[in-house]
């Protein structure tokens, strides 16, 4: 059975004129009739609403409003069908404001700065890491790197008392975001995960992860260190 759209049901709830097929459907379909009844029970707009005047100074500029709204989880979003909900949250969190890279050789690079997006998979959910929340053993981490003109990437895990452990090294798309073809599983050891990320215009030597990131930048590369606190194992 094809049900009327939500707009048609809302119009019916308002008591407005609805097409004959919608009226017939409402007589036959208990679910849609119940929806209309529920919306009618919500009542009309309260009278005071008509007296509301929004002072210009109190109106948030669109960008501020969007930022504010982005921090709020609206129940309405969770009511959307899955593709819409997925679409509405499809975004990346860009981390680590980049030091200004000075690649040598006069290479022409994209004007945007490099950035790292961290995605966490926990159970059946993938989330962009918020930059603060601890990761848990068993989480999978995948990185998305905005190359901004750099063509090579190297990622290593830094562990206290040991040398850097190379996790990935390979080419990088100079434009747009490159998702690493590998993901990393968080183990139960230690209280944090520290990742060293180096972008360069030529292949990165594994020992480049040792020195502080400032030295990489001085060599015409872009380097960043990601510190992900780890939730203690219970």
């Amino acid at each position: 059975m094809d049900h009327p759209s939500v707009l048609a049901l809302d119009l019916a709830a308002l008591g407005g004129q609805v097409p004959a097929e919608v009226a017939r459907h409402l007589e036959a379909c208990q679910a849609c009739a119940a929806t209309v009844a529920e919306r009618r029970a919500a009542g009309p707009l309260p009278g005071w609403v008509h007296g509301v005047r929004v002072a210009p100074a109190l109106v948030q500029p669109p960008s501020l409003a969007a930022q504010l709204l982005a921090r709020l989880r609206r129940p309405a979003w969770r009511l959307l069908p899955l593709p819409a909900a997925a679409a509405l949250v499809a975004a990346v969190v860009l981390l680590l404001p980049a030091p200004q890279p000075e690649p040598g050789g006069g290479a022409v690079r994209e004007k945007a700065l490099p950035a790292v997006a961290v995605y966490l998979k926990r159970g059946a959910t993938v989330a962009a890491w918020d930059g603060r929340s601890p990761v848990q053993p068993g989480d999978r981490i995948q990185l998305g790197i905005r190359g901004a003109g750099f063509t090579h990437l190297s990622v290593a895990s830094l562990q206290a008392g040991a040398g850097p452990a190379l996790l990935y090294a390979g080419p990088l798309e100079p434009r747009g975001e490159t998702l690493l073809p590998v993901s990393f599983r968080v183990d139960a050891g230690g209280d944090r995960e520290e990742l060293s990320i180096i972008l360069a215009i030529q292949p990165v030597a594994p020992d480049a992860h040792g020195p502080p990131s400032g030295e990489a930048a001085s060599r015409g590369a872009w380097a960043a260190r990601l510190l992900l606190p780890k939730e203690p194992t219970r």
């Binding site: 759209s5 939500v6 409003a65 982005a70 899955l82 509405l88 989330a127 073809p181």
Partner: protein, 136 residues
């Protein structure tokens, strides 16, 4: 989103419209706000049920959830559509494909002709097909 829609309802004076006009105004405005959020939001969660392939990392027990990279690829595709498609095309697509409005209803909400709705949906479908690598 509800708060933002309400503020705009009051600010614009649309609260004084006839109920049916006001309802269409709310549909149009809330959809535009949703698109704005889609483009600006910096942090979010993707439920893996929206991805397609139920693959798993080697050695990982099957949970019925798709692979991480599949989910992220779907996420990137959605982000691409969100950033590339013109707002009105996205608005019509969301109204018709997500909210389930008919083309005539979407035309009424967007104050455009049904022919324009069909044209925008055709463009949107072509955009999605190109992302999928399918011929139009």
């Amino acid at each position: 989103m509800a708060q933002e829609t309400f503020v705009r309802l009051c600010e614009s004076g649309a609260v004084h419209l006839e109920p049916e006009q006001r309802l269409r105004w709310i549909y149009a405005t809330s959809t535009r706000i949703a698109i704005d959020l889609l483009r600006r939001r910096k942090l979010g969660v993707v439920t893996l049920g929206s991805a397609q392939e139920p693959g798993h990392e080697p050695g990982e027990p099957s949970t019925g959830a798709p692979r991480l990279d599949d989910a992220l690829a779907a996420r990137q595709a959605l982000a691409t559509i969100a950033s590339d498609a013109p707002p009105q095309e996205l608005q019509v697509a969301m109204l018709c494909r997500v909210d389930g409005l008919s083309q005539a209803e979407a035309a009424g909400v967007c104050a455009i002709s049904e022919r324009s709705v069909r044209r925008l949906l055709t463009r949107f479908d072509g955009r999605v097909a190109r992302l999928d690598g399918r011929p139009r």
